[in-house]
């Protein structure tokens, strides 16, 4: 009886993580769209919605702590709750980065871009996809999917390098570019960090499924 309600509570926790993940994927999505379309209202919404993510993070954390204390979970249940605790933090951080990007969009406002946007939206799409795919890997207990997802971080890192060089060149060409180039660089940096946190998600999902702790984040910088 007690165990049954325990398993129900685990299912609820799983649902909360999925809810959290969806909020975060949406935040990345909206921040990117706001950026591309100069949609200030949408950027505002991302900033407002971040509070929901923060609140849900605390709620999930509380649930994990009480399950640990009251049920003393073992084996797969222990790994699941441990994973929930860890990816809860990673998801919240990713939400923060999306929120920061939205704030930069608000700062840049409607001023014309100093360069056509190609690589940044591409990076953002990769990041969104990584989080989304890991969310599915989490739901389906799919180790291979989590592993394949982590591999995409190389691409994000590579694009970050390119964007970095390109913006540096623009700043050196014309000091008028420095202000916006710095903002764009910050966006690139935030996306690169999202990629790293998405890789953490992969690591924890793999641990949850198989008990292996792999180090998938290659530190290039």
């Amino acid at each position: 009886m007690v165990r049954e309600s325990f398993h129900e509570q685990l299912d609820k926790l799983r649902g909360d993580i999925v809810r959290m993940g969806n909020l975060v994927v949406n935040a990345i999505d909206m921040a990117t769209t706001a950026f591309k379309r100069r949609d200030m209202d949408l950027a505002e919404k991302v900033v407002m919605d971040d509070e929901k993510i923060d609140r849900l993070e605390l709620e999930i954390e509380k649930k994990c702590m009480s399950l640990l204390a009251l049920q003393q979970p073992l084996a797969r249940d222990l790994r699941f709750i441990g994973t929930a605790l860890k990816i809860n933090t990673d998801l919240e951080r990713i939400g923060d980065y999306a929120c920061n990007i939205a704030k930069i969009v608000l700062t840049i406002g409607k001023e014309p871009f100093i360069k056509p946007l190609v690589d940044l939206p591409h990076m953002a799409e990769l990041c969104r996809q990584m989080v989304k795919d890991n969310l599915n890997a989490f739901i389906n207990q799919d180790r291979e999917k989590a592993l394949a997802t982590a591999k995409k971080d190389h691409e994000v890192d590579h694009l970050y390098q390119e964007v970095f060089q390109e913006l540096l060149a623009l700043m050196m060409q014309n000091s008028q570019n420095i202000r916006q180039a710095t903002f764009l660089l910050m966006i690139a940096r935030h996306l690169e960090r999202i990629g790293d946190h998405a890789t953490n998600l992969s690591e924890w999902i793999i641990y949850m499924v198989s008990g292996e702790r792999l180090e998938l984040n290659e530190k290039l910088f």
Partner: protein
């Protein structure tokens, strides 16, 4: 790490019924090995095979080997009484004898020929202290052991086992009749005892196995399904059947 005991292809039969199937299990010296598994899987049978207590049950038959310090305890030259002095046993229900606390602890040494009062006093003191019971009973040594609480009785039984200076202590669900405080005391005691003894414990309480043991073996239907460090078994077991059992998803 060194194996204090080891079973090799150990099978045990009750008449025609096979209760254990070819079990290979190492028992590390100065460590606690926990045996877990559902009721009827053969834990007690396995435990009893480690000091030939099965032999007192009619119709039992043993195949394979049980090594103690590398020597097979089923060798016909081995004296079972001497063996059980080395490999002592603590049962589920505390079973003090209806005599004084002192006489309970002195019982084994007397059987083994120790008669001098001062020697016995010394053994009783040492054993009760090692069983973390001395302070609680030192003023009532000559009162009946039946007046002790359940937790105290269980520690008295452990003192009685320690009095004959065993090397290995087998415990079959020693805490199942104890309240949480007595259980905590017993677990602390097990932790201290492993410095000088090798301990094998059967328990139905997963958290207890996780707390007290260094190695864990999971039995199912008379087979040893998985053996590993306790940390590995309780965080990431290799076998799905182990995982299902310890997370309560069995059957």
């Amino acid at each position: 790490m060194e194996n204090k005991m080891e079973t090799r292809k150990l099978s045990v039969y009750y008449k025609n019924f096979q209760a254990l199937y070819s079990v290979d299990l190492p028992i590390q010296k100065n460590a606690v090995t926990a045996l877990i598994g559902p009721s009827g899987c053969g834990k007690s049978t396995f435990l009893r095979a480690l000091n030939r207590m099965n032999e007192v049950i009619e119709g039992t038959r043993v195949e394979g080997e049980v090594l103690l310090d590398g020597k097979n305890i089923y060798d016909p030259r081995v004296d079972p009484v001497a063996l059980r002095k080395k490999v002592g046993m603590v049962f589920q229900k505390p079973n003090p004898f209806p005599m004084s606390i002192f006489d309970n602890v002195a019982y084994g040494p007397r059987i083994h020929g120790i008669k001098k009062k001062t020697d016995l006093e010394q053994i009783v003191h040492k054993s009760l202290a090692a069983a973390a019971l001395w302070d609680e009973v030192k003023d009532r040594l000559y009162k009946s052991a039946l007046g002790l609480s359940g937790g105290q009785q269980q520690r008295l039984v452990i003192a009685r086992v320690l009095a004959v200076e065993p090397e290995v202590i087998l415990m079959d669900e020693p805490a199942s009749a104890l309240d949480p405080i007595s259980t905590a005391k017993l677990e602390d005691l097990i932790h201290q005892l492993k410095q000088n003894y090798t301990i094998v414990i059967v328990t139905h309480n997963m958290q207890q196995a996780a707390r007290v043991s260094d190695y864990t073996g999971f039995f199912l239907n008379g087979e040893l399904i998985e053996y590993n460090t306790t940390t590995a078994i309780f965080t990431a077991p290799r076998e799905k059947r182990t995982e299902d059992y310890i997370t309560g998803r069995f059957g």
